[in-house]
């Protein structure tokens, strides 16, 4: 390969480099060296060597993934750091699940964090972290780099009224999330109930207030509002869940990937496999307005006066039965 440099701009024309041998047919990052010689025109008998440049060549598994029908289309471009990371983390892997697992396991080494106020892949990279809305896009694009399609799903808090109580107002998580020791939310006072739910009528249970930093993912009564975002992989007849934000990956869910349907909440038996495999462990508590004897632990969002929030009762998620007062105990609305 000879390059001729323009004397004014000192640039050559763009050239395509072709290797004599095929690139390795495997995911990986490969070192390449180029030796450079300087020749004047007309060319002398000997061209002195002026240096060696080293290059990283990243080889991916397959062409960029495309979305199946009914799912949001993927961009036909990727961010360079994501491609480099996935080629490094998933080096040598040869199937969709192994690739996703390797990417998931590599995430902590990226230094990127959860709980940072960014909602797109670009902002996540610029801010070194993001919220779940950015993370499920980022994990999807990380897999896309290797030609693997993962689904994006958002499960939204379904704020309902059940017998004068609110089931439920927010998802509550105590873990800090990816590369965060503690949640980034300011402390607030919670009223945890870790015992049997629902609380039997006419009885009271001891509730100890605890002031702690926790994430709250709120719903909004009568509206489709906020929730948490995760990814699913369908591979060899099984469904795997990846929650990049809270370090939960390759979780087998014994049910189909949730259909996108905001209008119809999902709960009860339809939600049971998702709860058993993931939610009951990942989400510590659900925040609601719950009665304890004669006292209503009321969740209040005082919007007209600003952000003041009063937490009602936080019930351990795993203790919420499939059915409460004849209705589904826990329901969510699924979007993409």
């Amino acid at each position: 390969m000879s390059l001729t440099f323009d004397p004014i701009t000192e640039l050559s024309r763009p050239e395509t480099f072709e290797a004599r041998r095929n690139l390795p047919d495997v995911i990986g990052v490969h070192q390449a060296k180029l030796d450079w010689y300087l020749c004047q025109n007309p060319s002398p008998a000997h061209c002195p060597q002026v240096g060696t440049s080293t290059h990283h060549l990243a080889t991916s598994w397959r062409a960029l993934a495309t979305a199946p029908a009914g799912e949001a289309a993927l961009p036909n471009r990727v961010y360079k750091p994501l491609m480099e990371w996935t080629c490094q983390w998933a080096a040598g892997q040869t199937n969709e699940r192994a690739i996703c697992d390797a990417i998931f396991n590599g995430l902590p080494s990226s230094g990127l964090r959860y709980g940072v106020g960014a909602h797109t892949i670009r902002d996540l990279l610029l801010n070194q972290g993001g919220m779940c809305g950015a993370w499920y896009q980022t994990f999807q694009q990380l897999a896309q780099c290797q030609g693997v399609f993962v689904y994006r799903r958002r499960f939204m808090v379904d704020w309902r009224q059940v017998n004068g109580e609110a089931h439920w107002c927010a998802i509550v998580v105590k873990k800090g999330g990816l590369n965060q020791l503690t949640p980034t939310h300011a402390p607030s006072t919670f009223h945890d109930h870790n015992g049997v739910f629902p609380i039997p009528a006419g009885t009271t249970v001891p509730i100890t207030p605890v002031t702690q930093q926790r994430y709250r993912f709120f719903g909004l009564p009568g509206y489709w509002y906020d929730g948490h975002c995760i990814n699913f992989l369908a591979y060899e007849g099984k469904v795997y869940l990846y929650d990049a934000c809270f370090n939960l990956g390759s979780v087998v869910i014994n049910s189909p990937i949730p259909a996108i349907d905001l209008a119809v909440p999902q709960g009860g038996t339809a939600l049971a496999p998702f709860r058993a495999a993931y939610l009951d462990g990942a989400v510590d508590h659900m925040l609601g307005s719950i009665r304890n004897g004669a006292v209503l632990f009321n969740t209040v969002r005082q919007f007209p006066h600003g952000p003041t929030i009063q937490n009602g009762m936080t019930v351990r998620t795993a203790n919420i039965p499939q059915t409460v007062a004849g209705a589904d105990g826990l329901t969510f609305r699924w979007g993409s």
Binding site: H119, G133, W159, W224, L262
Partner: protein
């Protein structure tokens, strides 16, 4: 509730105040009274401004930010739902336009679902050789709205004795033409 909506306009960058943006809590503090009851004309105009707004929302980066959507997308999402809830399909074209231009699939989901819900709530036409329509004797915004999501604890507007009258028009056919009588058959007993 101030009709000028200074917080939302500051967040959208359409107010004269060029200082730092409000917090998300302040934005919701001004938005919630607008969307939690039948829309005033000023509130309706504001929500249209929201869904037409291009560019991000200027809000201070605090912990109250939504998790799953950006503040701009969340504001649009709520505006879309409120417009569909309280005005049904009045702004269908605007909603479709936003659906086509939205970068976020999550926001597109909300728009599609809001339109579908409003369509489902639309009165059904009577099948057969008569075309029926409903005469409305009250302003649409005053009606109780059929909505498939929980309305708790949004106070449902008290319906002001909404009376609907079915009006049937006779249909005549001539070849491929269907003619509808210009005279309203429902005015008298048929």
């Amino acid at each position: 509730m101030p009709a000028s909506f200074p917080v939302l306009k500051r967040a959208m960058g359409i107010a004269e105040d060029t200082g730092p943006g409000p917090s998300w809590g302040e934005v919701m503090g001004e938005l919630w009274p607008i969307i939690s009851s039948p829309l005033s004309s000023a509130g309706e105009r504001l929500l249209l401004d929201v869904i037409r707004h291009k560019g991000g929302l200027r809000v201070t980066n605090t912990e109250e930010l939504p998790h799953s959507l950006s503040p701009d997308e969340m504001l649009k999402s709520l505006a879309v739902q409120a417009l569909a809830r309280w005005t049904r399909l009045t702004y269908l074209t605007e909603l479709h336009r936003l659906e086509l231009t939205a970068a976020s699939s999550a926001l597109q989901d909300v728009i599609r679902a809001a339109i579908q819900t409003a369509l489902a709530a639309r009165p059904q036409a009577i099948e057969g050789d008569a075309i029926s329509e409903e005469e409305r004797e009250v302003d649409e915004a005053d009606e109780e709205v059929i909505w498939s999501v929980s309305t708790y604890p949004i106070p449902k507007p008290k319906p002001r004795q909404v009376t609907r009258r079915r009006v049937a028009r006779p249909v005549e056919r001539f070849g491929n033409l269907t003619l509808i009588s210009g005279e309203r058959a429902g005015r008298g007993r048929r």
